[in-house]
């Protein structure tokens, strides 16, 4: 089970300057908030910055810059 999930790449695993497409979002309590910010399956993104000590991660989706915590980013599956 563990190694299966580890095959999927999560947004939280990425480092600065990586780009990709959001493929899926795991159901979580703030999933609607993510949608509201335009973080939905199918969109392209790039990682703009990552705050130190496992702080929030800032991504560009379309033309918006959005910052979210690592914990939220763990629910976002990317490729």
């Amino acid at each position: 089970m563990l190694y299966l999930t580890s095959l999927e790449m999560r947004l939280s695993d990425l480092t600065i300057k990586s780009t990709g497409i959001i493929t899926d979002i795991v159901d979580n309590p703030v999933i609607n908030k993510l949608f509201e910010f335009g973080i939905i399956p199918g969109v392209e993104f790039s990682v703009v910055s990552v705050a130190p000590y496992k702080g929030p991660i800032c991504i560009q989706v379309d033309d918006d810059l959005i910052a979210l915590r690592k914990k939220e980013a763990e629910n976002i599956i990317v490729e």
């Binding site: 309590p29 609607n32 130190p52 496992k54 702080g55």
Partner: protein
Amino acid sequence: MNNTSSLKNNIKIALIGNPNLGKTTLFNKLSGLRQKTGNYPGVTVDRKKGKFNFQNRSIELIDLPGVNSLFPKSQDEELVLDYLINQPDEDAPDKILVLASALNLKRTLYLFDQIRDLNIPLVLAINMNDLAQKRGIQIDADKLSLELGLPVVLISAKKSIGLDELKDVLIQDVELKTRPSHYIDEDQLPFLQQYCEKKNIQNPYLGFLKLIGEQSDENSTFIAENEIKPTKWKTRESILRYAYIRNILPNFMEVDKSKAVDFTSKADKLLVHRVWGYVIFAFILFAIFQSVFVVASYPMDWIDQGFTYLSSLVQSSMPAGYFTDLLAQGIIPGIGGVLIFVPQIAILFFIFSLLEESGYMQRIVYLMDKMMQRFGMSGKSVVPMISGWACAVPAIMTARTIENKKERLITILVTPLMTCSARIPVYIVIIGLIIPDDLYYGILQAQGLVLMLMYVLGVAVTLLVAMILKWILKSDFKSYLIIDMPEYLMPDFKNVFLSVWSNVKSFVWDAGKIILATSIILFVLATNGSDKFDRSEEYINEIHGKASEEEKELLLASYQLENSYLGVMGKSIEPAISPLGYDWKIGIALISSLAAREVFVGTLSTIYAIESNEEMTIRDRLKNEKGPSGEMVFTFATSISLLLFYAFSLQCFSTIVVTFKETKSYKWTAIQFLYMSGLAYFVALFAYQLLK
């Protein structure tokens, strides 16, 4: 619900939009200075109303807090939803003006799309069109208007572009056609219709919001009976609406990929850098301090000296008597005590509004989030905390943007521990007593250093208490942070000016009333008393018959104060405060500054002004103050004890009121007052006993 706005002379328009889109700018541009209710830095709280006339029609504009969707996650969002769905209300809008941003049309149209389904007459304004064009985004308003079936205006609120066209559209009638409910899956639609019929709700989307948003037995039964999954409904709504928007977007928007290199992403390379970001933030904090202490000290000196001069002028030029004394020793120092804060408050609000307007405030949230989480707060708590350096009242209100209830409560409870500007005069006077003006460590002035230490102490205790609260409070709420990092924009100086103006105005009025009233009451209480007070002249002549006239006058003054109503009050609390190193005169100052701590200095100056007729600055008076046996009253231990007492005690009526308003809880309001008072008393007690 009627779908047309009748041709009335007065039109009520509600302004709704996502946060950080320039909604406040638009509101200010449309209504100018004709606004009701004060606004606080950065966020729009309460219902702000403005009025303007256009072509013989009077338009009332209601500014609602910025929200991202109609699903309430924060108090601001609850407020907006409540306003929109709980109609009819006397404030119910004739029309809604939805503000979207040309820079991120897709996301801002989401909120529009939700509101559209409420079928209230609607106008869509798309802001920052000039910036969007610069970035290669072209929006065709006519095509969009056709697509949506309602008026669309492209504007730039900051540059006042398109505002006349917008006003023109606002006074015209809008007819909305009912459109298919594209926010729900077809197999679920019958349930929604059934619910609306049962509850007699005309508008299906209103029914949708009520069914999944309102907690009631009726709803729970309906949800259970029909096996509805409210979370699923919400999720599907988001996906369906975004799909709809993405689908229509190419019909009216073109994006030129070869857009100019983006300033924001360039600036962010530095401003949110893992090292430089923090260095720059620290530098900005330092700059705030410098301007508050160095720049503000000049106008503050002028105000202080000006009022001292005015007092002596009144005393010498007006006929001697009770009224002259009241004016020169009560009212004038009282007003001076209010106005002396104005420079610092103006500077602080000026800087905050610059940070907010430029978009940098959100970067602070991003940078500080991880650190603040350790203390049970969120990155968003940094804004209230920093605002707490100006005043805890607006600071506590800015905590509304924190979605998580525990983080928000902790932020509200600890924010008054930050060193607010009302503490500054108290600190400055007391520090001046124990540390000489000309003491330097290298290039650092010792007084300034101690003042900075007090700020550090404030922050440290704020974080410490927050951490303790984090341990004590249970949390049933999930904490999260998803924020928008807006484009960096040049601050609009009219907005900045308006923010400074309204904050200074409300301070001068609200705090001023209390301070002025306190100083008059104090003066009356200090110059009246019972029997002993009335017979004081006889008593002095009897006991000190041989003293010179001058000495007699001094002795009389101090005997009178001691036996005045005020003196009796001070004496009655002396047993409780003498372990802290305070005498009854300081006791009077403590009592009078219960409602507002800044009254402390004014009270001391009133008390000592009553005693001596010489016009001296407050600090000189305190330095000369001697106890009954000739010992100094303001010793090192007493001064430190006072500094600590004022650092922690919640002597601010306005803060108590705002905490109650924001928490809607007597319990938390009482807890905040009690823990801070307790902390103040025992820390001061400990310090005095240790140092004396």
